[in-house]
Structures are given as structure tokens and as C-alpha cells.
């Protein structure tokens, strides 16, 4: 069950948040900011995938479709309808959520994990091919560039805040705000009746059914929420980088990275996906010269973690700082 956070956990979270808030004061180096923004985008993606795979126990492999739908959806709405990215990222999320509900319905009828894996991979491929082929709309493999960035704001105390490519720090704080918001939503969900039922479902479907829980509707809702969050991450990505390609936004490589991050951090934990995202993104950037080995590394990492450290890095913490036993 989802226990209330221990004092240790609260201190840890507060410490991490503080560190993140103060980082730009220590170094506003645009490169460092860029890496952290990416890490947070992937962190949001990873946490949302973990919601479905780790908490709801529904093992899917096609979430990169939602990232791409959110990214392209938001970008195209902003470009063709002249809407503000502040609005379109939510619309992008909604598009992704709709797709999530659409594909979620058949997936939930299927009990067999291999079938779900196949359907989700197939679905993501369909999305990728559509995005690549509808080049009239999306510019296809040539890439969609010139995506509008967030318009500037005027904040009390801070004054004018702009989001041009030179303002990495603004993006950093925006990403941080989104990350915190998303975490808040996920924790609230897991603490609610729905969340508890979900964990019961993950650990033993029959028991949950006997409690009179409408499993299918619940799983579908969670799936849709997860798709929504991933869509927003994708939309943010689009308006941050200002350029999208089918490979970067809907490619399997993206999903591989996310899987590696979640497994490394710890599937089915709250902090695991974020830890994994930060660790891997930073690690990869630190080893820039080894770009060629990046994917190879992710793949090997997945194999090694799944075989030898299936609960991820976060459980190592449990060995050094043992938590009080649950009854």
C-alpha cells in the first residue's frame, strides 16, 4: 500500500527540490541547463510510463506514440492556427489522451502481455509512419522546424521572463514546475481510492475484482492520464527545441531510453523514473564522445538491470537506509 511519506522521504524530497531550485544560481551554463531540461522532459515521460507499467501493472511498449502525438499536435496547432503554445501544450496532451483512450480500449481486453506488447509496438509504428508520410502537414522526415516557442510572461517580483533559445534558465524553471506538478498529480492519484485499487489490481487481479472495482474503466482512465502527461512532455519538447522529426519524437529509440531509465531507477517506485532519467541523461551527455555507444549502452543496461538488479537503483538506497518494515 502507499504509505504516507516518512520523515526521511520528506526531507529527501525537500532537499532534492531545493537543490533543483538553486542549481541555476550555481551555474547558469546553457549546456548544463539544456541537459537538465532534457532530463526533466524524459523524467516526466518516464514517470508517466511508470504509472501504467509499474503501478497499474500494464506492460506497454508504445508510449512514444503519445510523446509524438503531443509534440506534433501542439506544434501544428500553434503553427497553423496561430494559437499560443501556452494553450497548445494542453491541447497536445488532450490529443495524446484521446489516442490513449482509443488504443487503450482494445489493449485492456487483452490479458496476455505479449499481445499487449505487440499491439502497443504496432500502434506506435502506425503513428510514426503516419507522421512521416503526411509530409504535407508535418514535413515528414525533413523535419518540422520553426515551431513557435512560449511567449514571454511578466511575473510579479521577477519581471519579464522570456523563452527564447537564449533563455535556458527560463525553460529550466518551467520544466521544473511541470515536473513538480506532474509528480503531485501522480502522488495524489496513487493515494486516492483509485490508486489503492490500482495497486491491488497490479498485485492480484482477482482480489481487486472481488472488491467490486470496475477494473477496466479504472485502467483506461489511468492509461488516458498517462498518455496525457506524456503528450504534454512531448509538446514541451517541441516548443523547447523548436524542431521535430519522426525519428526523434516517435522513434523506438526514444522508448528504449525511457525503458532503460525506468528500469535503472526502479520500476514501480515514485522517485525511480526521475532518478533514472537524470542519471542516464547526465551520464550520456558526460560521455558525448561515446555517442555511438549510447544506444548500445541503453540496450546492455536494460539486459543487465533486468537480470541482476530488477528493482533498480532506488532499492540500493533501501539497503543503505533501511526503511521501517510495513506490517
Amino acid at each position: 500500500m502507499f504509505k504516507p511519506f516518512t520523515l526521511q522521504a520528506r526531507l529527501g524530497m525537500a532537499g532534492a527540490l531545493l537543490a533543483m531550485l538553486l542549481l541555476p544560481a550555481v551555474t547558469a551554463d546553457p549546456y548544463v541547463m539544456h541537459v537538465m531540461v532534457l532530463a526533466m522532459i524524459f523524467g516526466i515521460f518516464a514517470s508517466a510510463w511508470n504509472l501504467v507499467t509499474g503501478f497499474a501493472g500494464l506492460k506497454t511498449f508504445g508510449h512514444h506514440a503519445f510523446f509524438g502525438l503531443g509534440a506534433y499536435g501542439s506544434a501544428l496547432l500553434a503553427m497553423h492556427l496561430g494559437l499560443s503554445p501556452w494553450l497548445t501544450i494542453w491541447l497536445g496532451g488532450l490529443i495524446a489522451a484521446a489516442a490513449g483512450l482509443l488504443i487503450g480500449t482494445p489493449i485492456l481486453r487483452i490479458r496476455s502481455m505479449p499481445h499487449v506488447a505487440i499491439v502497443t509496438l504496432g500502434f506506435a509504428e502506425i503513428v510514426r509512419i503516419c507522421v512521416a508520410n503526411l509530409s504535407g502537414l508535418t514535413r515528414g522526415e525533413m523535419g518540422l522546424w520553426g515551431i513557435p516557442q512560449f511567449e514571454g510572461l511578466t511575473l510579479p517580483y521577477f519581471g519579464k521572463v522570456s523563452f527564447t533559445p537564449a533563455d535556458k534558465v527560463s525553460f529550466y524553471y518551467l520544466a521544473l514546475a511541470l515536473t513538480v506538478l506532474m509528480l503531485f498529480v501522480i502522488v495524489r492519484l496513487m493515494r486516492s481510492k483509485t490508486g489503492l485499487a490500482m495497486l491491488a489490481m497490479r498485485d492480484g487481479e482477482d482480489a481487486a475484482e472481488s472488491l467490486g472495482v470496475n477494473l477496466t474503466r479504472m485502467k483506461l482512465m489511468v492509461f488516458g492520464l498517462s498518455a496525457f502527461i506524456v503528450g504534454i512532455a512531448g509538446a514541451f519538447y517541441a516548443h523547447y527545441l523548436s524542431i521535430l522529426t519522426p525519428a526523434s519524437a516517435v522513434g523506438v529509440d526514444l522508448m528504449i531510453s525511457i525503458i532503460a531509465m525506468v528500469l535503472v531507477g526502479g520500476l514501480g517506485t515514485i522517485s525511480g523514473p526521475l532518478v533514472g532519467a537524470v542519471v542516464l541523461t547526465v551520464l550520456i551527455e558526460a560521455m558525448r564522445d561515446l555517442e555511438n555507444y549510447r544506444l548500445l549502452g541503453y540496450g546492455a543496461l536494460i539486459v543487465v538491470i533486468v537480470m541482476f538488479l530488477p528493482k533498480g537503483l532506488v532499492t540500493l538506497r533501501d539497503r543503505f537506509f533501511p526503511r521501517p518494515q510495513e506490517t
Binding site: 506492460k59 511498449f61 482494445p106 481486453r109 487483452i110 496476455s112 502481455m113 505479449p114 499481445h115 506488447a117 505487440i118 499491439v119 509496438l121 504496432g122 500502434f123 509504428e125 502506425i126 509512419i129 503516419c130 508520410n133 523506438v252 528504449i256 525503458i259 532503460a260 528500469l263 555511438n292 555507444y293 544506444l295 548500445l296 541503453y298 540496450g299 546492455a300 543496461l301 536494460i302 539486459v303 533486468v306 537480470m307 530488477p310
Partner: protein, 289 residues
């Protein structure tokens, strides 16, 4: 469209279909016996292609020697991978998820290892037989006819193996009831190894036959895996005969479908078809509940 061209398309469809059948049957074999979905199956195809390429182009072997050798190498590779990873995972918790995740990771490792070792150049080998077979108004390159013949022979061989040999019986028994197989003395772990090796061999054979036609490159396995999925979904995930039927059907449907739409949408059509089948008949078009 005149009849000859239509028939030619159907025949071409059957030929591609026979290759799909070989590929899909490998996935079905492994899933049927071990209930493991091997996401690295496409890489057996990719590596089979590279083995063939190196044996023929670098070592100068004639194709009829290179191909069996490449297939044998793939068999050994399959056995090795099974022993090193799958065997370890399959007896532990959550094996359904961990085997899918591990084979996914393995797939990426193999693709990128191939990239690093072999480079990103697209390679091919010369045709094994030249010339065109002419039957009335129908023209088929002999290379393609050879592909079809080899596929048929292989399918016949596998069917004979499964129905009449000790190994075949042990494979079928293990896939139908693992405990009962153990109880009658079938060494189930060895059966798993053999199945994995066979699956790799079948994938490599398809690659070897297609080497003169399709480019050999590190990512060749990706579309192959996806194609293989469609095949086994049509035929029923664990069914060897289903995969054969599914493969042939897919080949013909694609050949006909390409006449109606352009080829860039071909995969969208087959994946949508696949998802529809999973929704309506998850046990496959030919399988039983």
C-alpha cells in the same frame, strides 16, 4: 489489369509470403514452447544476412555452401543467447516481462554492435541464379523461384520434423504441457535451447535467401520483427502451422493491396489489420480458442 500480371503479383506475393512464413514460424516456435516473446528475433535475420554476406563475399564460398553454414552459425547464436539470458530469466519472478524487456535490450545491443562492427553500409550479394522463368505471359526471375522452393522444402522439413521425429515430439509435447513433458523424461531445458536455435536458423535462412534482393544492414531486423508479429498474430501466437498460413496470406494480401494503395501505407494497413485481429480473434485466424 490483365490476368498474367495479376497472377504474377499473386505469385510474387506467395514468394514474399513464404519468407514471412519462415520468419514468423521462428517467433511462433519460441513462443509456443516457452511462452517467450523474442523481440530480438529480427536480429537473427539481420545477423544471418551478415553471415551470408561475409561467407560469400569475403570468404568466397559458393552460395550453396555459405547458406547452410550461415544457418548453422545462427543456430549456435540462438542457443548461446538462450543459455546466457532467457534460461536465467525464465525461472525467476516476472519472467513474462523480464524476457520481453531483455530481448528488447538485446535487440538494441545487436543492432548497434552490428553498426559498430560492420559499419552502416548497405551490403548485398550477387544473385544465386540468373535468368527469368517464363510461363506463358508470366515472368519470374529464377532467383525468386529458388527462394520459394527453398522455403517450401524448409517448411516441409520442419513439418516432418515436428510430426515424426523424437525431437519434434519433444518440442510439441513441451509446448502443450511442460510439466507432463518433464514427467515423461523430456529434458525441457534442452528443448528450449533447440527451439531458440531453430528459430534463429529459420530467420537466418530467410535472410540468406533474400540477401541478393534486400540490402543487408544493421537495422534490417526491425521491419522483419514487425512483419513477423503480423504473421504470428494472424496465425495464432504459438502455432507453427498458423505462422506458415499467416505468412503466405500476408504476402498475398500485401501484393494485392499494393495495387490499390501506394507502398508507403502498406505497413499501416498490415498493422491495423493485425490490431483488428487481436481485437476480434486473439487466437488468430486459423487457431482455435
Amino acid at each position: 489489369m490483365n490476368l498474367a500480371i495479376f497472377l504474377e503479383q499473386i505469385l510474387n506475393g506467395l514468394i514474399s509470403g513464404s519468407m514471412y512464413a519462415l520468419i514468423g514460424s521462428g517467433i511462433a516456435l519460441v513462443y509456443g514452447t516457452m511462452r517467450v516473446l523474442n523481440l530480438a528475433h529480427g536480429e537473427f535475420y539481420m545477423l544471418g544476412g551478415y553471415f551470408t554476406f561475409y561467407l560469400i563475399v569475403q570468404f568466397g564460398l559458393p552460395f550453396w555452401a555459405a547458406i547452410p553454414l550461415a544457418v548453422a552459425l545462427a543456430f549456435l547464436l540462438g542457443v548461446l543467447i538462450q543459455k546466457l539470458t532467457i534460461e536465467y530469466l525464465i525461472v525467476r519472478d516476472n519472467w513474462v516481462f523480464t524476457t520481453i524487456a531483455a530481448t528488447l535490450g538485446l535487440s538494441i545491443v545487436l543492432q548497434n554492435a552490428a553498426l559498430l562492427i560492420f559499419g552502416e553500409r548497405f551490403n548485398s550479394v550477387p544473385y544465386y541464379v540468373s535468368g527469368v522463368m517464363v510461363l506463358g505471359d508470366i515472368r519470374l526471375p529464377w532467383q525468386r523461384v529458388l527462394i520459394f522452393v527453398v522455403a517450401l522444402v524448409t517448411i516441409a522439413f520442419m513439418t516432418w520434423l515436428l510430426k515424426y521425429t523424437r525431437i519434434g515430439w519433444s518440442i510439441r509435447a513441451t509446448s502443450q504441457d511442460r510439466d507432463a513433458a518433464e514427467v515423461v523424461g523430456i529434458p525441457v531445458r534442452r528443448v528450449y535451447m533447440i527451439c531458440f536455435g531453430l528459430a534463429a536458423a529459420l530467420g537466418a535462412l530467410a535472410a540468406a535467401m533474400l540477401a541478393p534482393i534486400n540490402a543487408i544492414n544493421p537495422w534490417a531486423g526491425i521491419p522483419i520483427l514487425l512483419k513477423g508479429f503480423v504473421v504470428v498474430i494472424l496465425g495464432g501466437l504459438g502455432s507453427f502451422p498458423g505462422a506458415i498460413a499467416g505468412g503466405l496470406l500476408l504476402g498475398v494480401v500485401e501484393a494485392v493491396g499494393v495495387q490499390l494503395t501506394s507502398s508507403e501505407w502498406r505497413d499501416v494497413i498490415s498493422f491495423t489489420l493485425m490490431i483488428a485481429v487481436i481485437w476480434w480473434r486473439p487466437w488468430g485466424l486459423f487457431g482455435k480458442k
